[in-house]
């Protein structure tokens, strides 16, 4: 009995504050042991590196909050970058290219939403299909190689979106902050957010509350698609090219970050704040490992283990047991 109690209290503590303390410990130890980590410019670099992931994960969190999941984010990120570059090569003005690209992201998101919300296609399956199609379009446009975005094509404006500074703050990071804040408000302060949580938390209740579950889910996926396309644009601007594989890593990273952050607020429920912390941890971890010169192979192993550890110690809800059929 007693041991059990002890354990449960420990695990509760871990579940609640484990991830956060992990963040503190990791950051602290890096600050102490890695001189380069301390430098201001590294923090700027760090900001650049986490921005896109923050945006994608924030969008994904919305999807999680309605009790679904989305594995098409990475594909949409990659596609958006290539798409925008492709348009600009075809002499479409940057602004217009951006608008169209975002529109594209929204459409793919809507495609997810309709399949999953209206046709009750399992989320994994639905978003999987979307990702394949996105991949197809992507390769069709760029034939698998990156499309350069030169100054001549896009002008400083576009590239500065990815690499520029505003008041000394990296512009992508500003975007990340803005989007995060908006979504945070949406989820925590508006009726829509409340309804999303209701749908994710208790479907039956949501029905009796008179909430239109389909609409809510559709909205969630559209938001996710929107975020992914924004991230894709910023990424392409940062790289100065639309890379066909640039965003692939985001699918796993975003899901991981959301899972890692899930324990923080609302006890085991998705929450933007938690997600952001999750992203920061992952970002800092990778950044630090780089500075430590840990080999690529070791990096992926460690990241994997870290995610597992976070997820295993976190979480009340059966951690998004997403059923396939």
């Amino acid at each position: 009995m007693h041991r059990k109690n002890n354990w449960s209290s420990v695990s509760n503590w871990l579940g609640r504050y484990g991830t956060f303390s992990a963040l503190l410990i990791i950051t602290a130890s890096f600050l102490i042991f890695i001189p380069n980590f301390r430098s201001f410019s590294n923090f700027k670099a760090l900001m650049f590196q986490v921005s896109m992931l923050v945006i994608v994960s924030a969008g994904l969190t919305i999807v999680f909050s309605v009790g679904e999941t989305d594995i098409s984010t990475g594909a949409i990120v990659s596609l958006s970058g290539v798409f925008a570059a492709f348009l600009m090569v075809k002499n479409v003005s940057p602004i217009f290219a951006i608008v169209i690209t975002i529109l594209g992201g929204v459409i793919l998101g809507a495609m997810n939403g309709i399949m999953i919300g209206y046709l009750r296609v399992p989320a994994l399956l639905g978003t999987f299909v979307t990702s394949i199609i996105a991949l197809g379009i992507n390769y069709l446009l760029g034939l698998g190689s990156s499309i350069r975005i030169t100054k001549e094509l896009s002008g400083d404006f576009y590239l500065s979106l990815g690499g520029g500074y505003l008041l000394g703050i990296p512009i992508p990071f500003i975007f990340a902050v803005i989007i995060t804040v908006i979504l945070l408000i949406l989820l925590e302060k508006t009726k829509w957010g409340l309804r999303m949580y209701a749908v994710g938390g208790n479907r039956e209740a949501a029905v009796t509350f008179g909430i239109n579950i389909r609409k809510v889910k559709l909205a969630a996926f559209i938001i996710s698609g929107f975020c992914s396309s924004i991230a894709g644009l910023l990424l392409s601007a940062r790289l100065g090219a639309g890379s066909p594989i640039g965003g692939d890593a985001y699918t796993l990273d975003a899901i991981a970050a959301t899972f890692v952050g899930v324990s923080m607020f609302r006890e085991g429920e998705p929450h933007i704040g938690g997600t952001i912390l999750g992203v920061l941890i992952m970002g800092i971890l990778v950044n630090g490992m780089r500075l430590l010169g840990i080999s690529y192979e070791m990096q992926i192993i460690l990241r994997g283990l870290f995610i597992l550890a976070a997820v295993a110690t976190a979480g009340k809800r059966a951690l998004f047991r997403t059923k396939l059929f």
Binding site: T69, I71, I114, M115, Y118, L119, R120, V121, L124, L125, G126, F128, V129, I132, I133, L135, G136, I137, N138, Y139, L140, L143, G144, E204, V207, N212, I213, R214, L252, I255, A256, F259, S295, Y296, E297, M298, Q299, I300, I301, R303, G304, L305, I307, L308, V311, A312, G315, A318, L319, F320, R321, T322, K323, L324, F325
Partner: protein, 329 residues
């Protein structure tokens, strides 16, 4: 306990479709296959040749075996996206052991053991840790990739591969290429296991209703765990064949396999009334995907466009199966 159906919902799910049209829908996947096959064989002279059909099957062998394994995991509603990494790691181990002078059997055994272990890890963590198998297999996959890169130092392994090992990939048995033979053996075993044995019945019960299965004395967790192990075993076998075919073990991620394997299983689900995965369905999926990519290669469609076609086809099968399932509700 559902709201009023409206708009799309009504259009797709609530159209009262008579049983025969229902059957039409169910076999539409099969008909689609036949149609495609006919078109190809008319337009491409070299399509309907023994040699090409042989190619088709050989090229699908690795993927097919993986897909059969995946089917087992999906029956209880779980998923495994680490199988690509298992394919790689198993191949690497087998080849590297031969490089170190071990015989055929120990090398094969090693690959199999890799499969079993990774299956156990996936299963244990996701089932007994109550963690979504998606996130678990994603991370375990990443870890395995790291391991195989670490183990090989990134080198492509090919030294010391035994002829008997190569035979698995390139040899022929009664004029049938070995990979094809093995694939059909695996499909057959999978079919028996899933549809003709106690275990299979239990697996489907767990998938159908976890609690009901528990309350008749079935151990749902153990049942699911075994499915994970079987899946990874298949992946390991696929890894052996893949390496034996090229005569090289590459320590690269095999995410392509994951996507296609899922595509196959999903296509397969559309053939069952309940939208469940099944081995015959999977076999159909294998053949469809094979015919498609083979035919498109012959026409000279670049891989890029191939993805779109693949995606569209899966999209339709998904829509069909969702219509079927919504009717049942």
């Amino acid at each position: 306990m559902d709201q009023k159906e409206n708009g799309l919902e009504k259009f797709f799910s609530k159209k009262k479709i008579s049983t025969n049209t229902n059957i039409l829908i169910r076999y539409s996947t099969l008909m689609a296959l036949i149609a495609v096959a006919i078109i190809f064989s008319i337009t491409i002279p070299s399509f309907l040749t023994i040699r090409n059909l042989e190619n088709l099957l050989v090229q699908m062998a690795v993927l097919g075996i993986v897909a059969v394994g995946l089917t087992f995991v999906t029956i209880p509603g779980e998923m495994d996206v680490s199988l690509g990494s298992v394919v790689t790691l198993a191949g690497v181990f087998a080849v590297s052991l031969m490089g170190k002078g071990f015989g055929l059997i120990p090398s094969l055994a090693a690959a199999m053991i890799v499969g079993i272990i990774s299956g156990l890890i996936n299963g244990l963590i996701s089932i007994y840790g109550h963690i979504s198998s998606l996130i678990v297999t994603l991370t375990i996959g990443a870890i395995l990739d790291g391991v195989s890169l670490l183990y090989t130092g990134g080198y492509r392994l090919y030294k010391g591969i035994l002829p008997s090992y190569l035979f698995i990939g390139t040899g022929k048995l009664f004029g049938i290429p070995m990979p094809v033979v093995i694939m059909f053996v695996v499909v057959f075993i999978g079919f028996i296991l899933a549809h003709k044995t106690v275990y299979g019945r239990r697996l489907f019960s767990v998938g159908g209703n976890f609690n009901a299965a528990r309350l008749v004395g079935i151990n749902p967790k153990l049942t699911t765990l075994l499915a994970f192990v079987f899946c990874s075993l298949c992946s390991a076998m696929a890894g052996i064949i893949a390496t034996a075919r090229v005569g090289t073990a590459e320590p690269f991620v095999r995410f392509g396999y994951v996507m296609d394997a899922f595509a196959i299983v999903f296509i397969g689900t559309t053939t069952s009334a309940e939208g469940e995965p099944s081995i015959p369905g999977t076999l159909l999926g294998i053949i469809i995907l094979g015919v498609l990519s083979n035919g498109m290669n012959l026409i000279g469609v670049p891989f890029s466009a191939q993805n779109i076609l693949k995606g569209v086809i899966i999209l339709f099968t998904v829509l069909i199966s969702s219509i079927i399932r919504n009717q049942k509700k």
